[in-house]
Amino acid sequence: MNLSELKENSEAVISGIAGDARFISRITSIGLTPGCHVQIIKNDKNRPVLLYSRDTMIAVNRRECTGITVTEVRK
């Protein structure tokens, strides 16, 4: 599943990133890399996904989310 399919308050680990060099550079520099733990704070339609990772609240546009695959972590 990709990042935008996660429900609010769920937690996941990033399993893969796919896209052009620019996308990879942008997503890496904000701290999202494979193996990285994320917690979804908000996921409303027509809004970027709001998540928490590496001590940082990050907003990721929904279209960009499709390049980020995740595995949900059951709590």
Binding site: A21, S25, R26, T28, S29, G31, R47, M57, E64
Partner: protein, 670 residues
């Protein structure tokens, strides 16, 4: 001694605050040579030594994603800086040290400032800067901009870094990189002098990350077969992802044992729950901006008062000059051009001051990022960032304020496009005359005209975004937001105020030149001479009346339209002068100074102008270029004569077209 320091840091690392605090009013905003990127430099003295500071543009990394990032790394590699001060946010060390990891391997000496130490402390994090320093091999210090003691430590650390010429110890990082397939193979083929300023390790990693600029440079520096061999190993995107992982692994190893924290569950604060709310988010943002605008009037009013004072003095000078029999030409030049221009600029400068202060505050406190989040989707449709909504809202008050507010947009093309669209928003001056004109001609139908204007505004912005967007916003910049929403910070008032004063001063000097020039030309063209014969402008208006008639404007209205490009309020003065006989130049400047409208204005208008013509005129001046001060402010923000003129020409032509359409629709109705 004198030394040059470069400041480097991700957004929200407190870089601008430090820059402003260090340099105060001794800063200068210009352009990087040949680029549209803003160059901020300043100086300060400490213990008798002079330091110059370069605030490096740039975003999250040292990759070639934008002009800013390329400029930043070229500047560092050029060796112009004696030392680079890298900033990181202590409250989110792991993520914000990425810039340091990406920097490692550049040859300029550096030191690390862990900013926002106060925020980290509040979060229960304990950071051992000494331990980090030992592992990195460069001076490392904890810093908090709101603490005055921090600055003494900062100066001491700076001196130490310059003396030691300290470099990051990269052996552990390189060990990480060596695990990537192809790293060693490529690295061996590059030497220290392949591209000066960059180490083979750094270049190799950029190749693995598919950095276009580095790849192109290496193509020039290396033999073809070597380059071919290198490119074969970097085909997949896996190497780029792996390089990112290496950097974070290295950061983890640096931080392990140096940071202790109490893990807490993260939830949204009360304010964030409102801003990020599905329904209330947008109203909350708009309300915040509007309240901010109102608040900005408090500091703006005294400045605007000075402008009105200049008007009064101007009136006195004018009458005393006329009494003493000074020539009309000299009086006009002095009162209608020189003093009048000064008064326009000062009045609108109040707005710039207020908007810069309020926007600066919103950005520093962290609200700006929430605004970006809420409007990301809507503004994305125009090819813009969420923040662009703010200049639009401000432009309902003053387009110059909107242009000044567009400073918060970090991508040049999107900034230009934002300002270009903000011009379509009717400003305060338009709101002062359009309802009046509409009521005179359409009575109870006036609200309909206003609604039509607002609808046309939205359509206008959409079409303008399509027309200019293709050139200004590259496809790769259209990407949606990937951005940090920083924790709320307390503002550092001193640094903020110094920045606002500096910015306002800069704007004043740049804008005044353009305004004087344009007002001077307009005045010369409208000057009728002492005998009261027709001015060049009137002759021109009469000559092309057959053409302007098609657009729905008799020559008098067309000249008023031209005058409205200089200032909208002035257009009414020009109409009065032309229909009742009088000097255009004087009538224009008196109307601009807020002089009383002619008592018989309504009769004059109704007797001389038909309803379709009035409709054409209303549409044409509403969507004409806002005023000469907005034009100058636009130039000040976007640093491009070409684009400023392009936008101005576009607005003149499109306003005439809109007027033409309105006229012909009006002809069908009446």
């Amino acid at each position: 001694m004198s030394a040059t320091i470069a400041l480097l840091g991700q957004p929200n690392s407190g870089k601008s605050t430090l820059f402003n605090a260090l340099t105060g009013l001794r800063q200068h905003v210009g352009n990087w040579p040949g680029k549209t990127v803003e160059k901020k430099e300043g100086t300060f003295t400490h213990k008798g030594d002079t330091y110059s500071v370069a605030d490096l543009p740039g975003s999250y990394s040292m990759s070639a994603n934008s002009d800013e990032e390329v400029i930043t790394r070229d500047f560092i590699a050029s060796g112009k800086a004696d030392v680079v001060c890298i900033l990181a946010d202590s409250s989110q060390l792991e993520r914000s040290l990425f810039m340091l990891a990406d920097y490692a391997g550049l040859s300029a000496p550096c030191f690390l400032v862990l900013n926002m130490a106060d925020v980290a402390k509040e979060q229960g994090k304990k950071i051992d800067a000494n331990k980090i320093e030992q592992k990195l091999g460069i001076p490392v210090m904890l810093f908090s901009a709101t603490d005055t003691k921090s600055y003494d430590i900062f100066y001491a650390t700076l001196e130490r870094a310059i003396k030691e010429k300290s470099h990051i110890n990269v052996s552990a990082l390189e060990a990480e990189y060596q695990k990537i397939d192809g790293y060693q193979d490529i690295q061996q083929r590059i030497s220290d002098c392949t591209i000066p300023g960059y180490t083979p390790m750094w270049l190799t990693v950029k190749i693995l990350e598919h950095d276009k600029v580095v790849t192109a440079k290496l193509k020039n520096a290396l033999p073809d077969e070597v380059m071919k061999h290198i490119e074969q190993q970097t085909k997949s995107s896996e190497t780029a992802i792996a390089a990112g992982e290496c950097k974070f692994n290295w950061i983890d190893s640096i931080l392990s044992g140096a940071v202790t924290e109490t893990k807490t569950k993260t939830t949204l604060g009360r304010l964030d729950r409102i801003y990020t709310h599905k329904f209330w988010g947008k109203p909350a943002v708009v309300l915040t901006v509007l309240l901010g605008l109102l608040a900005s009037f408090i500091p703006a009013l005294p400045i605007m008062g000075i402008g009105s004072g200049v008007d009064m003095v101007n009136g006195m000078i004018r009458s005393s000059l006329m009494e003493t029999g000074t020539s009309a030409f000299l009086t006009g030049l002095l009162c209608d051009v020189l003093i009048q221009s000064l008064s326009y600029v000062i009045k609108m400068l109040g707005f710039v001051f207020g908007v810069t202060l309020v926007f600066g505050l919103l950005e520093e406190v962290g609200v700006m990022a929430r605004i970006s989040y809420v409007f990301d989707n809507t503004m994305g449709k125009l090819g813009l960032q969420g923040k662009s909504v703010m200049p639009f809202l401000v432009s309902f008050g003053c387009t110059m304020g909107g242009a000044a507010g567009a400073r918060v947009i970090d991508n040049w093309g999107q900034k230009v496009l934002t300002i270009a669209l903000a011009w379509a928003v009717p400003c305060g001056a338009a709101w002062a005359i359009i309802p009046m004109l509409s009521t005179v001609f359409f009575g109870a139908g006036a609200p309909l005209v206003i609604v039509a204007l607002l609808l046309v505004m939205i359509l206008h912005m959409w079409i303008t975004a399509k027309i200019f967007g293709r050139k200004l916003v590259k496809t790769e910049d259209k990407c949606g937001m990937i951005m940090e929403l920083p924790p709320y910070h307390k503002p550092k008032w001193g640094a903020l105020m110094r920045y606002v004063f500096g910015r306002t001063k800069d704007t004043f000097f740049r804008v005044v030149k353009v305004v004087l020039l344009v007002c001077g030309i307009f005045w010369l063209l409208s000057y009728g001479g002492s005998t009261g014969e027709n001015s060049i402008l009137e002759k021109f208006g009469l000559a092309i009346e057959p053409v302007t008639k098609f657009f729905g404007m008799p020559w008098q209205l067309f000249l008023a339209f031209i005058a409205s490009s200089v200032g909208k309020e002035g257009a009414v003065g020009v109409i009065t002068a032309l229909y009742s006989g009088g000097s255009i130049g004087t009538a224009f400047s008196e109307a601009m100074a807020g002089g009383a409208r002619a008592a018989n204005l309504n009769e004059l208008l109704l007797a001389n102008v038909t309803r379709p013509e009035a409709l054409a005129f209303i549409f044409a001046i509403t969507f004409n270029l806002p005023c000469v001060v907005a034009l100058a402010a636009t130039y000040q923000e976007i640093h491009s004569v070409k684009w400023t003129l392009k936008i101005a020409l576009y607005y003149t032509v499109s306003a005439l077209l809109l007027g033409c359409i309105a006229y012909h629709i009006g002809m069908l109705i009446w």
